[in-house]
């Protein structure tokens, strides 16, 4: 049986090359059967559950856009009150549902230390509604609400970092993952699954070929380049301690990543912007490596 198909049946309506569908297969396989999924509105709800069909072979509930973490809170508490301490409850949502409109619910769950797993699959835009700008959209990306125009070259703000925000909530476990590094992704989900008590959050890079204007056969290639350019760092923070899981020997040029994606094509040749992005990446890595090397207990900063 293919990856994750025991939990997530084929035949759903995601686009060719959908990164989120790949992420779901890996996540759901790693979670296994004894789970309840609480899903935010988004592509992965719309494409998977056209009534009366469903792709989910595990119990699954969707309510609205912004409350996946709160629904998961209620489900978990209900299980606990009924003496079920084994079933894992997972809130899943995209960057829109978890980083923007549902951020309050995510933050509340983290602050309370709810015994749930939060999966943020980040397509770096509102993919379901036609690729509008989100808090997860990276600097410079052209979206339908931050279009690259004659005057403004795409989004002019940096990406909101949900993983580090979770760390500062004293989350039990925080990790970033990427479908091009699927063994690492599954190991992290499994680790979160095995833990008890406290909130575990995994932030997963999730390419959207349609929205990013990427050849659907290049989903994993783009995902891999995100890591190799240093733009997407694979790390985990356990009990406040940072560990970087993969360090490229040397970073590939950001332009290599940009040139595969229509959302960045207006930046090709814009040396000023590319240098700024590369400097941003370098400085982020320097800081994170320093934190790792010195064993800085991150939540102690707050």
């Amino acid at each position: 049986m293919g990856i994750g198909l025991r939990q997530f049946a084929p035949g759903h309506r995601t686009c060719a090359g959908c990164g989120s569908a790949i992420v779901f297969r890996h996540v759901l396989e790693a979670l296994g059967d004894d789970v309840i999924i609480c899903q935010a509105t988004g592509c992965m709800e719309v494409t998977t559950t056209p009534y009366p069909e469903t792709s989910f072979k595990v119990p699954w509930i969707h309510v609205v856009f912004e409350n996946a973490a709160s629904v998961a809170t209620g489900v978990k508490r209900a299980l606990k009150a009924q003496g079920n301490n084994h079933t894992r409850v997972v809130a899943m949502g995209g960057d829109g549902g978890m980083i923007d409109i549902g951020f309050g619910a995510v933050s509340g769950a983290l602050e309370r230390g709810e015994d749930i797993i939060i999966i943020v699959y980040d397509t770096e835009a509102y993919s379901n509604t036609g690729l509008q700008r989100s808090g997860g959209t990276p600097f410079g990306a052209s979206t339908t609400t931050s279009p690259a125009g004659k005057k403004i070259p795409g989004k002019q703000e940096w990406k909101k970092n949900i993983a580090m925000i979770a760390v500062m909530h004293r989350a039990k476990y925080v990790a970033t993952a990427n479908p091009a590094f699927w063994a690492d992704l599954q190991a992290k989900v499994r680790k979160a699954y095995e833990m008890e008590g406290g909130t575990r959050l995994i932030h997963i890079y999730s390419p959207c070929p349609i929205g990013w204007h990427v050849d659907p056969s290049k989903t994993i290639k783009v995902a891999k380049l995100a890591v190799e350019t240093g733009l997407w760092m694979l790390y985990e923070v356990e009990e406040g301690k940072l560990k970087i899981n993969y360090k490229p020997k040397e970073f590939k040029p950001v332009e290599e990543y940009f040139k595969l994606q229509g959302r960045f094509k207006h930046l090709l040749g814009r040396k000023d912007i590319i240098e700024m992005v590369e400097r941003h990446v370098r400085e982020h890595w320097e800081m994170m490596e320093k934190v790792e090397k010195e064993g800085i207990d991150l939540p102690k900063l707050v």
């Binding site: 719309v46 559950t49 072979k57 969707h62 809170t73 209620g74 508490r77 009150a81 309370r112």
Partner: protein, 388 residues
């Protein structure tokens, strides 16, 4: 059974604690009541065996009890005014998903201007959501209605969420002698919560899928029928409860008090004042028709008790801006097919906590005698002589 004097909010907490509730979510929206605080204290003292979740917003309060109910646990939260407005999106989803949630609404005005006092605008704004709405006259009725609400909601022929509406301040903050039915008797009345479609890894199911137009319309039709059909169960539950606990509230949907030819139609705590005036013969030839369930609307029942009156005077503690009070519009609609319909008029009273006292009621009834059918008037208090 003994009656104790206690605050309305405390009485709600005490009865919720006796309903075998497993998950309680709490958020202190302004305006806040003491309901969830009282429950928090009981939880901290080990008097309720349940999960108590301090959520970060009213939106999450309803979301958490929705999730808990879907996972098979009887749940509770209370809200009011802006809190209910913030919940709006999930209020509709809960009914559409046929989840038997129970909430107590401490009825308060909606902004702007910001105002913490009583009217019914908050829950009236949710009337189209598919929730059953019970409006209570006294703290005792709120207590009894909370128990009935779980019984109605969880009935397999109903499976709808229920709002128990109590007037902010007039009921939430008053002290009244109340009888709290004991835990053992309430447990026996309610039975164990056994939601037939709960989230369970042993029997996986998908809840809250995407509905294309044909399926959406069919499911909404089912929902509409379920709300209409719930009238029967509401009455049955009321009757069984009345037998076991000894308190009657009309037929469960509607209550008629007195036999005057002018019917005052109202909901909530103001009905107590009206009853007192009828008892003392302070309102000549007036009877009270109290609507207990605004949803489902007791249309046939209300026609039966109103059609032969000379005049129907509706007291609305809300207004559908651009038209008239919501209760009036529905009462008037209900009477449309009657041959010799009575005059029907509307007085919008008590907005944002303006007192509806005997002087107001006297003003309304006297004015009603002089105006034509279709008269709609917003009484802001300045019309009413304070020297009554």
């Amino acid at each position: 059974m003994a009656r104790e004097v206690m605050e309305g909010s405390q009485a709600v907490a005490r009865i919720v604690a006796n309903c075998d509730v497993k998950v309680i979510a709490a958020y202190p929206i302004t305006p806040q009541t003491h309901i969830v605080q009282e429950l928090a204290k009981m939880h901290a003292d080990g008097l309720i065996d349940c999960e108590f979740v301090n959520v970060e917003a009213e939106f999450s309060a309803i979301s958490a009890i929705l999730g808990a109910t879907a996972a098979g646990a009887r749940s509770f939260t209370a809200t009011s005014s802006q809190g209910l407005a913030l919940m709006h999106e999930v209020v509709f989803a809960a009914a559409g998903m046929r989840l038997p949630l129970v909430m107590v609404i401490a009825n308060r005005a909606l902004s702007a201007p910001i105002n913490i006092w009583n009217d019914h605008q908050d829950s009236i704004a949710e009337r189209d959501s598919g929730w059953i709405q019970i409006y209570c006259e006294s703290v005792q009725e709120v207590v009894d209605s909370v128990v009935q609400a779980y019984k109605i909601a969880e009935n397999k022929n109903v499976l709808l969420p229920v709002m128990v509406c109590m007037d902010g301040f007039y009921l939430t903050h008053v002290y009244e002698p109340v009888e709290i039915p004991p835990k053992s008797k309430v447990h026996k009345f309610l039975g164990k919560f056994n939601y037939p479609y709960k989230l369970d890894p042993k029997k996986p199911l998908t809840m809250g899928p995407l509905g294309f137009p044909a399926d959406y319309a069919r499911l909404r039709k089912q929902l509409a029928e379920a709300v209409w059909n719930s009238k029967k169960v509401i009455k049955e539950v009321h009757d069984i409860y009345a037998k076991q606990f000894g308190r009657v509230y009309g037929d469960g949907l509607l209550e008629v008090y007195g036999d005057g030819s002018i019917a005052l139609v109202a909901m909530g705590s103001v009905c107590g004042t009206i009853k007192d005036m009828i008892d003392k013969d302070e309102l000549k030839d007036v009877c009270l028709v109290r609507i207990r369930t605004f949803r489902p609307f007791p249309k046939d029942e209300i026609v039966e008790v109103l059609k032969d009156r000379d005049a129907v005077v509706v007291l609305d503690r809300n207004i559908s801006l651009g038209n008239a009070g919501a209760v009036y519009l529905e009462v008037r609609d209900a009477l449309y097919d009657e041959k010799d319909k009575p005059k029907v008029v509307d007085f919008v009273v008590g907005l944002g906590g303006v007192d509806v006292n005997k002087a107001t009621l006297n003003y309304v009834v006297e004015k009603a005698r002089t105006v034509k059918s279709g008269h709609v008037e917003i009484v802001d208090g300045s019309e009413v002589s304070s020297s009554y």
